[in-house]
């Protein structure tokens, strides 16, 4: 398989938090969703990939080249959470600046995408709504024809209509087989729509790295009353959560478990359920 990002034994130590040791490979041509609770290490991982922070140890390979000192980010488009141009600048200013930074900057594409979104070029960023600003950030990330998009919470704060428009842009982008997206988000339903692969980060480590369809097909939630809990084999429970009147139990091999526990209901899982049970549930 052809990988666009390869992370080997990555560790980043802070006083109160350590990311890693982490090994991860992101295949070319996929949309990879990075999920995990706040503080799990998603943004730290993204910052390490982009050279914003230096790993304590470990190596990162981008486009098949080791990032030794400083990353060459020419082929990467980036949307970071609340990190962008000074808000005094106008949308047009960004165009004027970026064409002197990226040799492949496409003024026409930038103009077209912004007009499509109805964003005025002469307005300073501070006068734009949060949604409009986010769209400017996304269009800016795309306008130099990157091969890899690294997005940290690109749809946070957007209403469902705008989110859907933005997700369509990402789907258009991924039509080219050379393109890849790594996207961290708390809105897991977005990933259910567009992601090919899900990477779950927990306490700085990768606890799951599977194809999205595999996850959604494989896992299920077994629901049982409080008094029936003892009938479930402990080995079958990945995690469980006690509610007021029943238990939610995370199980894998859903179809097999359906046959084994015929009297119980085993529902399909959503990524949100999976995250909640993995983070908040008791582990067996």
């Amino acid at each position: 398989m052809n990988y666009i990002i390869e992370i080997e034994n990555l560790v980043k130590k802070y006083d109160a938090f350590t990311l890693g040791e982490l090994n991860l490979k992101i295949p070319k041509g996929e949309i990879v969703g990075l999920i995990g609770e706040n503080g799990a290490g998603k943004t730290t991982l993204i910052k390490a990939l982009l050279g914003i922070i230096k790993p304590t140890r470990g190596r990162i390979k981008l486009f098949n080249n080791y990032v030794e000192q400083e990353a060459d980010n020419t082929d990467i488009g980036v949307v970071l959470d609340n990190m962008f141009f000074p808000e005094l600048l106008t949308v047009k200013d960004i165009d004027s600046i970026m064409k002197d930074i990226y040799p492949t900057w496409d003024c026409k594409l930038y103009d077209e995408q912004l007009s499509k979104f109805g964003i005025p070029m002469d307005k300073p960023l501070k006068k734009l709504s949060k949604g409009m600003r986010k769209k400017v950030e996304i269009v800016t990330a795309l306008a130099h024809h990157p091969k890899l998009l690294i997005l940290d919470e690109p749809t946070s704060g957007l209403d469902p209509v705008v989110r859907s428009e933005v997700l369509d842009i990402f789907l258009d982008f991924i039509q080219d087989e050379e393109h890849t997206i790594l996207m961290s988000t708390h809105i897991t339903s977005d990933l259910e729509h567009i992601a090919d692969r899900i990477v779950f980060i927990e306490n700085g480590k990768v606890s799951m790295n599977d194809a999205k369809d595999e996850i959604l097909d494989n896992y299920g939630i077994l629901k049982c009353d409080l008094e029936d809990f003892g009938q479930i084999d402990e080995k079958d429970m990945i995690a469980y959560k006690k509610n007021r009147y029943n238990y939610d139990i995370l199980v894998d091999h859903r179809e097999d478990k359906k046959k084994k526990y015929k009297k119980f209901c085993i529902d399909k899982i959503t990524l949100e359920d999976l995250m909640l049970l993995m983070i908040k549930g008791e582990r067996r």
Binding site: K47, L50, G51, I52, I53, K54, E70, D72, N73, T74, I76, V78, L80, N82, M83, F84, F85, P86, E87, L88, L89, T90, D93, S96, I97, M98, K99, D100, I101, Y102, P124, I150
Partner: protein, 207 residues
């Protein structure tokens, strides 16, 4: 780097009202000239260059800039380059305004106007050479405190040294004539040192 320099100039352009306000203050100061007014404009422009850091910091520009192509230290090189261009513009303005005001007062001299410009720009560059590494190291808020403590310390040092050591008359005479030409050299030397210090600090910085 061109794009990064352009970014700072566009920020300055967007704060053009402040620049106009500074020019008005400068004109008012220049009307009743006593020699000190010449240094005000470049110094104020230097302070304005510092203000680009506050816009950067408020919108977390630096981590975003790290994701752009080019070396990390280009961000710092662009800041110093922008400042030098601003100082050159301030120099021209200072000479022209000093000359105009001298003409109005009837005591004009191109030589004096030129010296006024040199003195002002040197002070502006000196200020930048000291302030930039402090802001880059400590950030804007802590950097301001460091600048304040540093300024008070420096002033106290010169006062104490001035009261203890008596400058020989021949040295004082030499300085009176040549200080205006030595100061730009000193300022530029400090600025180069300041640039290397800032790049060293920035290369180790994480966001």
């Amino acid at each position: 780097m061109k794009g990064l320099i352009k970014k700072d100039f566009l920020i300055l352009k967007r704060s053009s009202k402040m620049i106009l306000f500074l020019l008005v203050i400068y004109f008012i100061c220049s009307i009743d000239a006593n020699g000190m007014e010449s240094s005000i404009l470049p110094f104020m422009m230097a302070v304005l260059c510092n203000s680009t850091f506050s816009y950067d910091e408020y919108n977390k520009w630096d981590p975003y800039a790290m994701t752009l192509p080019g070396k990390k230290n280009t961000v710092i090189a662009a800041k110093y380059a922008m400042t030098l261009v601003v100082m050159m513009i301030a120099f021209v303005f200072t000479v022209v305004i000093s000359y105009i005001m001298g003409t109005v007062r009837g005591d004009y001299s191109l030589g004096i106007s030129f010296q006024d410009g040199l003195l002002g720009v040197s002070l502006g560059i000196l200020a930048i050479a000291i302030i930039f590494p402090l802001i880059i190291k400590f950030g804007l808020e802590k950097g301001r405190i460091a600048i304040m403590i540093g300024s008070i310390g420096l002033a106290a040092f010169f006062m104490i040294v001035g009261s203890i050591i008596e400058v020989p008359k021949n040295v004082a005479g030499f300085l009176e004539v040549y200080l205006v030409y030595l100061l730009p050299l000193l300022a530029m030397t400090l600025l180069i040192g300041s640039y290397f210090l800032s790049t060293k600090i920035y290369s180790k910085k994480e966001f």
